[in-house]
Symmetry: C2
Subunit: 194 residues, 2 copies
Amino acid sequence: MPKLIDHAQRRIEIAEALWRVVSRDGVAAASVRDVAAEAGISAGSLRHVFATKEELLAFSMELIYERVAARVRTHATKRDPLRRAEAVLAEVLPLDDNRRIEMHVNLALVTEAAAHPALARAGVQAHEGLRELCRGVLADLADHGLVAASRDLDAESMHLHALVDGLAVHLLLGHNDRPTRVRRLIVDHLASLR
Amino acid sequence: MPKLIDHAQRRIEIAEALWRVVSRDGVAAASVRDVAAEAGISAGSLRHVFATKEELLAFSMELIYERVAARVRTHATKRDPLRRAEAVLAEVLPLDDNRRIEMHVNLALVTEAAAHPALARAGVQAHEGLRELCRGVLADLADHGLVAASRDLDAESMHLHALVDGLAVHLLLGHNDRPTRVRRLIVDHLASLR
């Protein structure tokens, strides 16, 4: 394997190890030493790849957003506008183990951002990215005549974004909202915009 | 001061010191030693009041919920049903420094709950408490003829709860939604239920 690819792969493996540690033990437990052990390398090797813990945390966050964006793109070919909207929004909900770990780690890291400027920057970018995603979903529905002309798309994007993020946090932490009900609620909300 | 009151007051002072540490440095930095230093006592004195860190974290969370509940009760006397609803919901939004610290600490602790069963329990109780609050707000509006009979109050409670929590997280972390717009959005949503 060429050295550059090897290095990129190593960064991803370490970020995934961080996800597992944060997901299992909380962000307070995610020391460089613990993450290195989880990744099966020495703390020295980890520091060779990520010079600071902040760099590791920021990369781990950004990797989550890249993966979500890649999954979202796979739905562009869906024909039915409402199904396309629903499928895109489902990618940012913790509906399986994979998305649950992403969500949990993201929430933990965003919450730590007060103490880490690089995390704060990545968190704001993700926030703005998700707002744009919601705006794009609504614009797509509007293009297909599925949003009443009287609706303010800015306010509706803000509403949809908050709704989706709130439902995501509830699925993750609330333990009492079933995924089918959550998806139903989003579909009903989108349908109500007509 | 009687000894019991003194003890209760001490617990509150330590919990508030934990809030400041978490709010400023993140939950990862909130060691018993740091919280004790912030409270101006020794780590040994802190351990005399809270035998474990988990006990301290859980009490600190519960204290947030008690304060929110006390503020919510003050709005019961408001005459106008929509204004009453809005005032109650504003109590769980980070609209000033006080509520911002509560929200931030709560989110940080809830996010750490995977590793701390006592926090998970307190987090679930808070989640259910806020769902009940939303249901109560909607039932109050419905009693005043402000919710269409065709609306499913269960689904609407879930929607309002997610909306409010999502907006709260965005106000806290998003840096781009103005409080006036957030309040307007909630009022518009409540008004749309008619």
